[in-house]
Assembly symmetry: C2
Homo-oligomer: 218 residues x 2
DNA sequence: CGTTTCCTTGACCATATGGTCAGGATGAGC
DNA sequence: GCTCATCCTGACCATATGGTCAAGGAAACG
């Protein structure tokens, strides 16, 4: 059955567990993204993972535990990417690479972003703690950076929070509202070229919008 | 019981129906926003509307019919507001008022925006036709307007689609991700002043971002 | 009033779903 | 190859939920 590892890896106890958990988590991410927490059924997830429902419950005792794990994985990816913010002390490079990376993540992990959006939409019943700790900490530290840029005259004065919200919403839109974008794009996904154009458009509007273009007033 | 009209209106057949449908629709909008289509239960909606479940099903035979009605109402509000786009042929005024109005709607009807977001997130199973007709038509006509502004040199060249997505996502973020914003704002809703600041920030970044500030390069 | 039409609702049903369990299969260790 | 720990799964259960129904009110109307 599908529990055997697909490639040439032999089925040892260790790999069995790792493989199956991965299978289930991937299926769960897709199904949760498509149907939300309550909309998703454990049978659906199991079927998509190619295992019986009872086996799913062997690895993840409850639907909620599985969901939390999915959200956790997403949040990890998301936070790691956010570190590109710090790689550079110049607002143009820092924001460009941050926005670019967030757009790429939206494209590569649309399900993750959707699960996150769904969770916030419904009041974050499962991940409130993440909002209050990791997200808040991250946000506060970046607000400080942005404020420094302002006091150094590198960008014009804008409230950092609303700038961040703008970046988050715009970039994640390409994952969360992917279906709407595709529909408006003749029912086909954005091509690589279109996506690059979108990325450039977003970056240029935001950078120029905060007065951070390379040809500054300096 | 609560079916009697709250004010002094007497309970005639006509008002009974109107009142109850309104009660149910309001409750449904809130519950659908909070839990999504599948997450919402008709009992929940009925309870919130203050009527027995069987009575709800007397007015709306199925959950799906009720949901479609809710989405339809939202879409109507949303499209009407979009007309502010045309009130003016100057990009600065047109975009300012459009963004401002969309922000206000996000604040006044957060549930509507959430239901919409939820629906798109899950692939628009119920409202695909809206996307393909009304939304597409509206978008295409505004793309033409924006392109005209570009050819007239009123704004710098940006792809109109991605500009529109940016406006939609940024403004609706204040409804859809309201919970996250509140959490990051010391668990309290944005004050009127904060909201005005957010609005101004968004408008100024976008307008300056597309080179449409009043003090143009003219 | 009488009756007709519309409204209200407690009780009920079929189905779907999250989760359990007992017993069988399979790799690990010797 | 024997034993043990882990893995697998069909069958099962309790509960929740969308939706129905029949019988009882209340307004419309003459």
């Amino acid at each position: 059955m599908s529990s055997s590892s697909p490639a040439g890896k032999k089925a040892t106890k260790a790999t069995i567990r790792a493989d199956n958990e991965k299978l289930i988590l991937e299926a769960a991410e897709a199904v949760f993204a498509e149907s939300g927490f309550r909309g998703a059924t454990t049978s659906q997830i199991a079927e998509r993972a190619g295992i019986p429902k009872a086996n799913l419950h062997y690895y993840f005792p409850t639907k909620k535990v599985l969901y939390r794990q999915v959200v956790h994985n997403i949040f990890t990816i998301w936070l790691e990417a956010a570190n590109s913010f710090d790689d550079c002390d110049d607002p143009v490079s820092a924001l460009s690479s941050y926005i670019s990376l967030k757009m790429d993540i939206s494209r590569q992990y649309p399900n993750g972003s959707k699960v996150w959006a769904n969770e916030i939409l419904h009041g974050a019943p499962v991940i409130q703690d993440y909002l209050e700790t990791s997200l808040r900490d991250w946000t506060q530290s970046r607000v400080i950076i942005i404020n420094r840029w302002i006091s150094e005259g590198k960008i014009r004065p804008v409230d950092p929070n609303y700038l961040l919200y703008m970046i988050w919403s715009t970039t994640q839109h390409y994952a969360d509202f992917n279906h709407q974008i595709e529909t408006l794009n003749q029912h086909s996904p954005l091509t690589d070229i279109q996506f690059e154009t979108a990325k450039k458009t977003v970056i240029s509007i935001i950078l120029q919008g905060i007065g951070a273009t390379p040809n500054d007033r300096s």
